[in-house]
């Protein structure tokens, strides 16, 4: 059986579901193909940070645009996916880290991102529960967090309502391009045909790019995540550190979500799990930041699979080999906040042939060809 449409989206993460939604809203016949359930991997299992501060400057225009969409998520999807503007507090644990916080203030200013330095005296006054290891912080009042389990499914549901077709449990096993048409074949033998293909398949996007003659050095990346039992609510801001080896946030119901480091994975299965040694190390880092967490019970840990690029920023933009093919993958562990805007940007690339967001830093041919 063959399904014909105008745009095929490969991958049902937050970005892919947002692309399906934005295209459907503009009247495009779009079909999204997802191997499992939407939001099963990086989009669904990540930390849930909705953070602009600290990003690579190239990502900030996307993050700014996405933040605007996050603010309207309830209107767009019917749920805010527990998005809460708690502010994001990035912490320094020494002079060198503090210098990095200060240096980033200029970057934030250039991109209109509100950011306030919390100095050595103020930090323990304003956040008396921080441990002595912390020497300074920078606070981004517009940042916050959301429930990653809800974003992609909510965007997919909104896309369905707008007329998109979301095909879950549809694993693509072959892809071709001939005579201006992409033809994708699923494991169950269904064929999908369209003149435009959006490769938004996370880590597996690397294999798709390779199939069209433009391999990139993408590696699997598994966030190492854990959550505690509920304890009385006291950690209001989403917390990070310079260097990113630990991050934690508390939700008002009391649970503390703690991440840092990387787990193990097998993308072929696909299968991912946190590493116990990493979990214990991250818990130790967390308790240095917030000593009161000592004795709190960890009730679950988990992971999933994202794609990591060598320079830590994704591939976004048109293919250099195949007309009609556009990529957006390899979000390197920080795509959750960007997802909504990526979908909007992809719809503009497809329908308008351009976007206001500068994408040059993300071009697929920025890596030297493999030897």
């Amino acid at each position: 059986m063959t399904t014909e449409c105008e745009v095929l989206v490969l991958g049902g993460g937050g970005a892919g579901c947002s692309a399906a939604l934005h295209l459907a809203q503009r009247g495009v016949r779009v079909v999204l193909l997802e191997r499992g359930l939407v939001g099963s991997q990086a989009s669904g299992v990540n930390y849930g940070g909705v953070r602009q501060q600290g990003r690579n400057p190239a990502e900030l225009p996307i993050a700014r645009r996405s933040r605007e969409l996050w603010g309207r998520l309830k209107d767009i999807t019917g749920t805010e996916a527990e998005f809460t503007v708690t502010g994001h507090l990035k912490l320094a644990r020494g002079d060198a880290e503090e210098a990095e916080l200060i240096a980033y203030l200029d970057v934030a200013k250039r991109h209109g991102l509100p950011l306030r330095l919390v100095g050595r005296n103020a930090i323990h006054r304003e956040y008396p529960w921080l441990g002595p290891a912390v020497v300074a912080g920078s606070f981004a009042p517009d940042d916050g967090s959301a429930n990653p389990r809800l974003l992609a499914p909510a965007l997919a549901q909104a896309a369905r309502a707008a007329g998109a077709e979301i095909r879950e449990h549809t694993k693509v096993v072959a892809q071709h391009h001939a005579a201006g048409q992409f033809e994708l074949v699923s494991e169950a033998g269904q064929t999908f045909r369209a003149p435009v293909l959006l490769n938004m398949a996370g880590f597996w996007g690397g294999a798709v790019a390779e199939a069209f003659g433009e391999p990139v050095p993408v590696r699997p990346l598994s966030p190492n995540m854990a959550v505690t039992e509920p304890i009385p609510y006291f950690i209001e801001p989403n917390l990070g550190v310079v260097g990113g080896n630990v991050y934690l946030r508390q939700i008002p119901r009391g649970n503390v979500i703690i991440g840092g480091g990387h787990g193990e994975s097998d993308p072929a299965a696909p299968w991912a799990r946190p590493l116990p040694e990493v979990t214990l190390e991250v818990l130790e880092l967390a308790v240095q930041l917030v000593p009161e967490l000592a004795g709190t019970q960890v009730i679950r840990s988990w992971s999933g699979i994202d794609g990591k690029m060598p320079d830590g920023i994704p591939v976004i933009g048109p293919s250099r080999t195949t007309p009609g093919l556009f990529h957006a993958f390899g979000f390197s562990g920080h795509g959750f906040q960007l997802g909504p805007a990526i979908g909007a940007i992809m719809s503009e690339l497809v329908l308008d042939g351009r976007t206001d967001i500068p994408l040059d830093a993300f071009r697929i041919d920025r890596f030297p060809p493999a030897a």
Partner: protein, 464 residues
């Protein structure tokens, strides 16, 4: 060869016995301070009483198992009060926690004898103070020498219902009623098979007869309506009899349970596939009759590998240890293997009759009212889970168990669905119009039980 045995209940003790006899010194882990498992749990020394009072008809078995355990402790690397919280089958490492100290156990072969826990069906009011599981009620009596209340109702089904009620009555607690949700006819139909159980079947009849003779109120085929009470605790229980008439009974405690479910989180983390056992109405890890699993070097025995009871667990523990030895190329006595296999097969037939006699009351779980608490850790009601299954849900309908968990938080709390999972599956399946085995099972994630975050390292202590 480095062998790790997790669990020192009937299966674990008999497994270590076989391994020690073959010249091995396994690393032996249990959460409890002493061996015996839940079924033959030993009270702390100051509360010791004679075995007959503690274990009734099982006194001889309990005493024998304890004696075997005591003799084996020195022949193994015995690690009591130790939680195995994660297992990595590829790396062959177990991660353990003992009184706040983390450790890693490297092994070549692992035998998991992780036992079982009570299977619960939520009833409106089941989270009131004074409600406990049948197993919990029994442990209170056995290990602490106290009851769960002064006037107790026992509700549920299965052999444990009658045994615990009998034990409470013998301990001179007032048993206000024994309410069995299984109709008499269901049990009668399974009677021919139950006769295979011989002594076990006879003991069950004895308990029931003993309770009736003492004019304890007994009813079969009942439908529980609500446990009543308030912040002070339970005050009574309302139920409907098989004829549709409503009754109320005053009490200050309720013990409830519907058989057991495997504690199979380690097997899950070890990557062993699971199958739905329609008769037991449980998801059980896949293994052969000897306890071998599809994951090389990993063996299962006892209730953690599918509910069989303590007698079966002893046989299965010895058999799995022999399988482990056989796979390692060690000679084992063919006659011993054959004797164990025959005994296990015989027990299997009795067990099947028992499961038919006391089927899981899926209809009670599926029919839990919308406003009744389903997931007590997260404070979720049955209606919250049903909403997650509906198309009107903002994130779309949840087509399977883990997605329903993701949307609604059912099974996301401290117990990770070990308590509410079975009932939650029935509710979701009914809402989706699917058989319960079609909607999957909650995925296991480490740690298998809550694990405290360690205190910060003192500044003077160097980071290793």
């Amino acid at each position: 060869m480095r062998i790790a045995v997790v669990g020192a209940g009937p299966a674990g003790v008999r497994a270590v016995e076989v391994l020690a006899a073959a010249g091995h010194r396994p690393i032996w882990i249990d959460e409890a301070p002493e061996g015996g498992g839940r079924v033959y749990q030993r009270p702390p020394a100051p509360l010791r009483r004679d075995a007959r009072a503690l274990y009734g008809f099982e006194a001889k078995r309990a005493t024998a198992l304890h004696a075997a355990f005591d003799a084996l402790k020195a022949r193994a690397d015995w690690r009591p009060e130790t939680l195995a919280w994660h297992i990595r089958p590829g790396a062959k490492r177990l991660h353990t926690l003992h009184r706040g100290a983390q450790d890693v156990v490297e092994y070549d072969a692992a035998l998991l004898c992780t036992g079982a826990m009570d299977r619960v069906v939520p009833v409106p009011g089941w989270t009131l103070p004074g409600v406990t599981t049948l197993g919990g009620a029994q442990i209170a009596l056995k290990a602490q020498g106290c009851g769960i209340g002064r006037r107790v109702v026992f509700l549920g089904s299965g052999p444990l219902l009658w045994l615990v009620a009998y034990q409470y009555a013998k301990a001179e607690a007032e048993v206000a009623a024994v309410l069995d949700t299984t109709p008499f006819a269901t049990k009668a139909a399974a009677a021919p098979g139950l006769l295979r159980g011989g002594a076990t079947f006879a003991k069950g009849l004895y308990y029931i007869g003993w309770l009736r003779a003492r004019r304890v109120r007994v009813a079969e085929g009942v439908t529980p309506l609500a446990i009543e009470g308030g912040a002070e605790g339970v005050t009574g229980l309302r139920w409907r009899d098989a004829g549709g008439r409503e009754h109320a009974v005053a009490c200050d405690a309720v013990g409830l349970g519907w058989g057991l479910r495997p504690e199979a989180q380690l097997a899950d983390l070890a990557g062993i596939p699971f199958r739905f056992d329609a008769l037991q109405h449980n998801w059980v890890p896949v293994r052969d009759a000897a306890g071998r699993t599809p994951v090389a070097g990993h063996y299962l025995a006892g209730d953690g590998a599918g509910i069989g009871g303590a007698e079966v667990a002893e046989l299965a523990g010895a058999r799995a240890a022999l399988a482990l030895l056989q796979d390692a190329g060690q000679a084992v006595e063919a006659a011993t293997v054959a004797r164990l296999d025959a005994a296990l097969a015989r027990q299997q037939r009795f067990r099947a009759a028992l499961d038919r006699a006391f089927p899981f009351p899926a209809h009670l779980a599926a029919g839990l009212p919308d406003d009744a608490i389903l997931c007590r850790c997260e404070g979720l009601r049955a209606g919250d889970l049903r909403a997650a299954a509906r198309a009107g849900n903002a994130a779309g309908p949840a087509p399977e168990m883990n997605r329903a968990k993701a949307f609604s938080r059912t099974g996301m709390g401290r117990c990770q669905g070990r308590v509410c999972g079975a009932a939650a599956a029935e509710i979701l399946a009914a809402e989706l119009g699917q058989p319960v085995e079609a909607i999957g099972r909650l995925r296991g994630q480490p740690p298998v039980k809550p694990m405290p975050i360690a205190a910060p390292r003192p500044a003077s202590e160097p980071v290793p």
